[in-house]
Amino acid sequence: MDELLENIATCIEFGKINTGSPFPPDMRGKKGADEYTREALDAGINPHTVLTRGLMVGMDKVGKKFRENKVFVPQVLMSAKAMNTAMEHLMPFFYSGDISAKGTFIIGTVFGDLHDIGKNLVAMMLKGNGWNVIDLGMDVATDTFLKTLEGHPGAVVGLSALLTTTMANMHQIVERIKEKKPQTIVAIGGAPVTQDFCDKIGADIYSPDPQGLLEDLDNKLFAR
């Protein structure tokens, strides 16, 4: 069982999707996250174990390498794609209640801002870490965040902004959320955002990368 889980983690780490996928070149023709996950479930390994000791281990490794500039956006996206393929096999267990998500995370790039590469990476890392993610896309209005939050009480909200001008919009969104649902945890990020700014606008979490966000979220959940 350990070997299967290790193989899953390796495939996620290096972005190996399935037997047919050409990437990475040195794993060509070998099995990928797709096959190994199926095999693990068929071998009777608990789906929750597959998620936490297979997929999440792999995503954690890419997250760390990305943080250290050892891999870049294309590699992380490949890992995310491998993870999504593996998740297909796990989805039924989420619905049946055999695996429960850590919680719901609503994420979007704030209005006026069309940068979504970073936001997408954050969303993928959250998924890979066991969160139910609702991605609202980019250029998202304050009301859209609020409405979505209505339908998912207790969800965490994540805002992304890459422009100094749209950071101001972040301020407005945080204010409205805190006004309507003061207990909501709001996380913010994006290249120009800082801890200082986070404190100033009354958001709860700032992180320069997805890895830090996951750590902070775990801490907050633990504290609850």
Binding site: G15, S21, P22, F23, P24, N69, V71, F72, V73, P74, Q75, L77, M78, K81, L114, D116, I117, N120, L163, T164, T165, P192
Partner: protein, 458 residues
């Protein structure tokens, strides 16, 4: 202290790593040109006459050696059918990707010199060429990788791994576009072609070599064959790719504020090419004070050195950057005495006490204080001191001249007590009257007489 080289010569020599009389300066004026005219970005970038005027104004204000004509990385994409969203204070942004919507490159409109806003860019170039024959005009073109991303969207990142041949074919298509654009800009009179490819900051060196190196290297080769200069700009955190960028053989690389200049200098040196950029766009140029900009420019200059270094911002200037801040950069480059002044003041202990000047003033005479670097190493300082002494002589005891060199502790104290921010400066009875330039003798005489009359001594 008259400049002997034209901006063009300075840029050309710096790009060849030859000696220049001073480090050249290229402010990356984009929509900031509109700001100087009070015109919004969405109007400015569609009007060749406005662009020529805006850039002309920047040339007058900032005395640069070179300057971009248009800084907008959406021109080609828009002409090829990408939808753009306009903004008042930024260049437009691409919001649709035709190749992600089922089209293939051969379905896109054929690009010619009349497509989209290309005629606006070329017309602005021709006008500026005519008015400013001695400045280096930069024609900015969208780099092939950023153009590919505009056309195909971010899926291209995964296609690079899964279908590399398709991505190479797309980059080949983009390469043809870049060659056309470069050609038109050169025909219109540009001295330098700057290939701006910020998206390459997001990829690893191996992918850079596989996809970006081949088309860009051939583009630079083509520019070299036409005896023009080339620069490779990458805004963004691209440290991992600096050696690969140099290997493409541009004449110059220009980098973002996030990358240590010392590192870039070493790599560029090794490849025998020139380098530049690095001035902080937002935190200093846009939000700092002129004093902060001077220190930052000085430090950047010290790190860049005087071989093959071109002073420039990390990317295109924020639209509302205060002109005084850019003029502060100009001052540091063009005025060696001012540079020395900033250097001296910077290294001085700032916590010097401000002296009480009550006893310094005198009801029976005019007190003339000249703040200098030190009149032996600063010729204008020496002339100013001599001019003041000469003008004061006829008034005997009624006029007293004191020179204070900021290289001494006393001089620094006087400088802060009098609120002086330049050298040489003449202050009469506490009033700052003559800054940097030596005034004609008549003006000095008038000033002394006025002070004496105020005190009823004349």
């Amino acid at each position: 202290m008259k400049d002997i080289m034209t901006g063009q010569e300075r840029i050309r020599k710096a790009m060849r790593r030859e000696a220049t009389d001073r480090v050249p300066w290229v402010p990356f004026v984009g929509v900031h040109g509109g700001y100087l005219l009070g015109i919004a970005a969405d109007e400015y970038l569609k009007n060749s006459e406005a662009i020529a005027r805006g850039v002309g104004k920047a040339i007058e204000l900032y005395q640069p050696d070179g300057i971009p004509v248009v800084f907008d990385l959406q021109v080609e994409a828009e002409a090829l059918g990408c939808k753009v969203q306009w903004s008042k204070d930024n260049p437009p942004a691409v919001i649709s990707h035709p190749l992600a919507e089922g089209k293939s490159p051969k379905d896109l409109p054929e690009l010619d010199a009349g497509s989209g806003r290309i005629p606006v860019c070329l017309e602005a170039t021709r006008r500026l060429r005519e008015t400013y024959p001695e400045h280096a005009l930069y024609g900015l073109i969208t780099g092939p990788f950023t153009l590919a991303l505009h056309l195909a969207g971010t899926n291209i990142f995964m296609q690079m791994m899964e279908a590399p041949n398709e991505v190479n074919a797309l980059l080949e298509f983009c390469h043809d576009i870049t060659c056309k654009m470069a050609g038109w800009y050169m025909d219109a009179g540009c001295d330098v072609i700057a290939v701006v490819d910020p998206m390459t900051s997001q990829i690893d060196p191996a992918s850079f070599e596989q996809f970006v190196f081949p088309p860009v290297t051939r583009l630079f080769e083509m520019i070299r064959n036409r005896d023009r200069l080339s620069s490779f700009f990458v805004c963004g955190y691209a440290q991992q790719n600096i050696p690969a960028m140099c290997a493409c053989r541009p004449d110059n690389i220009s980098i973002d504020e996030n990358i240590p200049l010392e590192y870039v200098r070493k790599v560029a040196e090794k490849h025998g090419i020139s380098f530049g950029g690095n001035l902080k766009l937002t935190s200093v140029l846009s939000m700092g004070t002129p004093g902060e900009v001077e220190i930052h420019a000085l430090e950047t200059l010290e790190e860049g050195g005087d071989v093959g270094f071109i002073m420039a911002p990390g990317c295109d200037l924020v639209m509302g950057t205060p002109p005084e801040n850019l003029q502060a950069v100009t001052r540091i480059l063009a005025d060696p005495y001012h540079r020395e002044f900033v250097k001296t003041v910077r290294s001085a202990k700032v916590e010097e006490e401000v002296p009480d000047l009550t006893d310094h003033w005198n009801a029976d005479k005019v007190v003339i204080d000249i703040i200098t670097l030190d009149s032996s190493s600063c010729a204008p300082c020496q002339y100013m001191v001599e001019a003041m002494e000469l003008a004061a002589r006829p008034y005997g005891d009624k006029a007293e001249c004191n020179e204070y060199s900021i290289k001494t502790r006393e001089g620094l104290q006087m400088m802060s007590a009098l609120g002086v921010k330049n050298v040489p400066v003449t202050v009469m009875d506490g009033e700052i009257l003559f800054v940097s330039q030596i005034p004609p003798a008549r003006n000095i005489e008038k000033a002394i007489q006025k002070k004496l009359r105020d005190k009823k001594l004349l």
